[in-house]
Amino acid sequence: MSTSLDRVDCTPAAAALIQTLMQEHGPLMFHQSGGCCDGSAPMCFPDGEFQISPRDVLLGRVEGCPVFIDKSQWALWSHTTLTLDVVPGRGSGFSIEAPMGVRFITRSTICLPPTDDSQ
């Protein structure tokens, strides 16, 4: 298992939702998605459901649940810290909170604006 980067936390609302979901589904995991439609959003699965590979990095843990992101995606996000939040929502991929009418969302805080290396 990769070393945690300690770059993610969650809001009280997200923490409460995670606790509720864990009561029904047991331990959980998150993987931050990219790409179209429901992408650029965190996906929540029963722990172990999503196969973590060496191309993923561990951002940290929220309520004890590991949060992963693709390594190449993280290279582009590394100037930010992430906060999992929850909003009313309509569903997304196979993320387990969707039937409850809510959706996890990733909010970001910029630690240091990225530098433009093209000039």
Binding site: G34, C36, S40, Q73, I96, D116, Q119
Partner: protein
């Protein structure tokens, strides 16, 4: 004109209060009897109930599909093509109604559904009706007495998971080749936009033998997942995002079945300085090409969400581009003069707003827009975002991540080499645009950009018979082209000897 809201007396569309799943040629209630509210993003109000299905419903649909497959797979290509043509005719006869319905379900402007989504549906069914008739098998004479015959055979029962940005068109992209090739289908619409596909089934269900096409609604985790995991599907087709794409491949690897995936992009739209050489029709077309980031509210996998402008024309170009963007008319999506409608769901709205925040934090300059659009009256509860232009550089997250909203991030470049470096500096490779009056530059850039679709001096055209699919993390497979038939077919090789003599080994 303004179309009347569905379920009002003057509307072309009357929506039932509750829908069922379409399984085995019949409307079947979900086994567990649960439903969820379908919301129109136009107003944020619930408009009907949709089955909240589970694996039991998926099993029923798979039973129906497997029962139908032996006969369907043996139908002649002429018979299948005739059915696809009848489906196209039926859609065309109901085009206006379906366009209004699609707008109500998805939120997009009706002028787009009328002019693009629905006419493309019609044409893609007709295209695959033609393609399957014209498809040839191969015969190869290997030597004087040995012949290799290659036959196309359908895969069997396939699972298709449809996105919410073009519900009917994305369903058509997957249905038409799969049906043409002789497969049976279990299709799961997006839970955000299930309605128009169900109404489509009301219109075309009688044209297909029972069980050939089954539609099961649900939240992804409750029925999409069992569909993708099932050992009774021969292939899974998915359009969506990367995490679910990986999960679908993971499930497919357990079943050793193929997948096709379309997973989005961060498409560069590159404008070279000669675009600005003359103030003519072409310059106007190029400015429209820039503004196409707002098509479908930016909810397009190939949204030209990164505009790269050559430094020498940057100021003049952007002044005109901002003006063009500010001329986008927002309002009631059912008004044919409205140019941009509502985002498809509340969580999509929230995600876009979070990226507007990220862009500002990163130091990107907001040239126009940058906030939610507040509309009056009944639209106040809908999910509207101002078309937004960020100016910044390619390392910012708003240049690297798919926002899936009406947001374009603009950077300048100096010279061809830097244009290509920036264009290719992305995890994705689905679409790209190249704008130049110089045919050599257009050709070289088109070849050098690592994307499955490069539009030269145009953008956002999706005709049948032009292959569409991704490089890099944008997916696997090529839709909209006869080569998609191969993604729904097995190859049967019969290797025949016409020689009476033994090989001589034993």
């Amino acid at each position: 004109m303004i179309y009347a809201d569905p379920n009002t007396p003057d509307s072309l569309v009357q929506i039932k209060s509750r829908y069922a799943n379409y399984i085995g040629g019949a409307w079947i209630a979900p086994v567990k009897g649960n439903y969820f509210d379908n919301i129109t993003p136009v107003t944020g109000q619930a408009i009907c109930e949709i089955p909240r299905s589970t694996s039991e419903d998926i099993d029923k649909a798979l039973d129906a599909a497997h029962a139908a497959f032996p006969a369907w797979s043996k139908t002649s290509v002429a018979a299948r093509a005739a059915i696809l043509n009848k489906i196209a005719d039926r859609v065309e006869q109901n085009l206006e109604m379906l366009a209004v319905l699609e707008t109500w379900d998805n939120g997009k402007a009706v002028r787009e559904t009328l002019a693009a989504d629905l006419p493309l549906c019609v044409d893609h069914f007709r295209y695959f009706a033609s393609a399957i008739r014209a498809q040839q098998s191969g015969t190869s004479v290997l030597d004087d007495g040995t012949v290799a015959y290659h036959f196309h055979e359908p895969l069997g029962v396939v699972g298709q998971i449809i996105p919410w940005n073009f519900p009917l068109l994305m369903a058509t992209w997957k249905l038409a080749p799969a049906l043409a090739a002789g497969n049976c289908i279990v299709l799961k619409p997006a839970e955000q936009t299930p309605l128009a596909i169900l109404v489509l089934m009301e219109l075309i269900g009688d044209l297909l033998p029972a069980g050939v096409l089954n539609v099961v609604n649900d939240f992804g985790v409750e029925a999409g997942k069992p569909l993708a995991q099932s050992d009774r599907v021969a292939k899974v087709a998915f359009t969506g995002e990367t995490t679910t794409g990986r999960l679908i491949m993971q499930y497919a690897s357990a079943n050793l079945i193929p997948v096709t995936l379309e997973l989005g992009g961060k498409s560069p739209n590159v404008f070279f300085e000669d675009v600005w050489q003359q103030d003519d029709a072409y310059r106007n077309k190029a400015l429209e090409g820039f503004t196409l980031f707002a098509l479908n509210q930016g909810e397009v996998c190939t949204c030209p969400s990164r505009a790269l402008i050559e430094g020498s024309i940057y100021e003049d170009f952007m002044e005109a581009a901002v003006a063009r963007t500010q001329a986008i008319k927002m309002g009631n999506p059912l008004d044919t003069s409205t140019m941009m409608g509502a985002q498809a769901s509340n969580d999509q709205l929230e995600k876009i707003l979070s990226y507007l925040d990220i862009g500002k934090q990163e130091g990107a300059e907001v040239l126009t827009g940058g906030a939610r659009m507040e509309l009056p009256g009944k639209l106040a509860g809908g999910y509207y975002v101002q078309p937004t232009i960020f100016a910044g550089h390619n390392k910012m997250r708003v240049f690297q991540e798919e926002i899936f909203g009406p947001v374009v991030s603009v950077a300048r470049f100096d010279g061809y080499a830097q244009a290509m470096e920036l264009a290719n500096d992305t995890l994705y490779g689905l679409g790209a645009g190249v704008w130049t009056r110089n045919v050599n530059t257009a050709y070289r850039a088109g070849r050098e950009i690592q994307a499955g679709r490069v539009w030269q001096n145009c953008y956002h055209l999706y005709p049948a018979h032009a292959a569409f699919g991704g490089y890099k993390q944008s997916g696997i497979g090529r839709e909209n082209h006869l080569m998609m038939l191969n993604h729904y077919q097995q190859t049967k090789n019969i290797l025949a000897s016409y020689d009476e003599n033994a090989m001589g080994f034993f």
